[in-house]
Subunit: 276 residues, 2 copies
């Protein structure tokens, strides 16, 4: 998917919402357990009721791997369902993979060929070797962990370099600008460190940022937008649990749809300040 | 598996060899494609012919995920086969996962409950949050990426801290010593940077090191051992392609067995210098 196609979808839906499909069998409504594939059925209904308000979905791989080969089948069915019914959606594999050479190529095959995701999240610890094999796929994206929203993010990510003073996450962003371009590279930048988002936007004025941590993790949408919105939007904000677990009965998907719509309404107001 | 049980297996087999099961359908002997599950059949034969010389196996997850749910089935069967037939083997999921909170818990469930691996490799970029959920499992191990053997490892891992001068990989090791102990934590330390292995062994005299990069990636076994062997051995050296693709005909597994035995003979000589 091109940069322009993502922007066009943002324009059409007046939304930059990504819904995280962190589907946990122990949290979904109990009646779904009567279905052959409860995880897929949950995802299908969530997608059907939120797709008008969301431009992206982001299954987190851990939640599928926890059920082994059956979990992978649920993931495969979810991806196929979204591709068939909502072809404009930007599909992110939240895999946080980080391996090299022929191993990275195998992950690229898994997520870009077999599963036809548009993007994959990657961990940069091992350097360029972990990212470059994914950039060989035209139209596909890498989303590199830069500054994450968890408590222990500051253990290593904000460590300053002895020689340059720039921090590790800044160095990751700086190096990654050499590997790819704003047309195939995004960065994960956590919403719980809003003031640092301003700094990141200064370094990369064009790149899309994938911002988790709004909602359950406490980030504030208006504040985040004030630091990161670009004339072309430039951000995708993810919400997972707050949307998908908004309800827990027969109407769970409608409840999720309402939550997603509420976020979309806020996003529409914020987008009015851009040139979209 | 306890530290002592690993050492006991090293003593019995006079080996500290790990065989990497990076099983690629395009590289296995063509006659295996007639089997229902070629990947499992390849793994089964490799394990049967190398288990006398190896103390650990390390399937690399990318090679299974590249075949989707079918690949996961091959992995599940491989793990079950090794558990049933070679109960002393130390089983490592080379997953290089790195996620937080409830996501990390789901990965732990996938690899420690569903698949019953003894250990998982983890990427430390997001800090303690990515590791601690795995340490709640008694008898299970985390193997944290510290200094890897790939070319771009130096992009970030050897960056020195402005305040302390210690490098990122040293900081990872130092922090990880607070999270766990030598009884549940190992580190991935690449063999292609042999001189730095000496430094790592000085920082952590007791921890097991998982050392890839011997063989195809060029590390030298004697040199590595001289820097890292402890009185209790303290190292597990991995070889993947050089062993599993030693042959490409009906006798491929015997060829792998011979390669593994050759490494075991060298390892036996090196272990004579320890108190094992």
């Amino acid at each position: 998917m091109t940069y322009e196609a993502i922007v066009e979808q943002i324009r059409q839906k007046s939304s930059f919402l990504c819904v995280g499909l962190d589907t946990d069998l122990s949290k979904i409504p109990s009646f779904l357990h009567d279905f052959d594939d409860p995880i897929f059925e949950f995802n299908r209904q969530i997608v059907d009721h939120t797709a008008a308000y969301a431009i992206a979905y982001k299954p987190n791989l851990a939640f599928y791997e926890a059920y082994g080969s059956k979990g992978w089948e649920s993931l495969e069915k979810t991806v196929k369902y979204i591709r068939a019914n909502y072809p404009d959606i930007f599909l992110i594999a939240d895999a946080k993979r980080g391996d090299i050479g022929n191993t990275a190529q195998m992950y690229a095959k898994a997520f870009f060929e077999l599963l036809d995701f548009d993007a994959i999240t990657l961990s940069p610890y091992m350097g360029a070797d972990t990212v470059k094999p994914f950039l060989k796929y035209p139209g596909k994206w890498v989303i590199i962990l830069a500054l994450t929203s968890n408590e222990s993010a500051v253990e290593f990510q904000t460590m300053p370099d002895k020689h340059t003073g720039i921090t590790l996450y800044e160095k990751v962003i700086s190096h990654a600008q050499q590997w790819g371009s704003p047309q195939n590279t995004m960065f994960v930048t956590g919403a719980t460190q809003a003031s640092l988002l301003k700094n990141i936007r200064n370094i990369i004025p064009q790149h899309f940022l994938l911002i988790p941590g709004v909602g359950a993790q406490g980030g504030n949408l208006e504040e985040i937008a004030s630091y990161t919105l670009t004339p072309q939007c430039g951000i995708i904000v993810n919400s997972s649990r707050e949307i998908i677990y908004a309800g827990n009965d027969i109407n769970f998907a409608q409840a999720a749809g309402t939550k997603a719509q509420n976020m979309q309404i806020k996003m529409k107001e914020l987008l009015a300040k851009t040139s979209i």
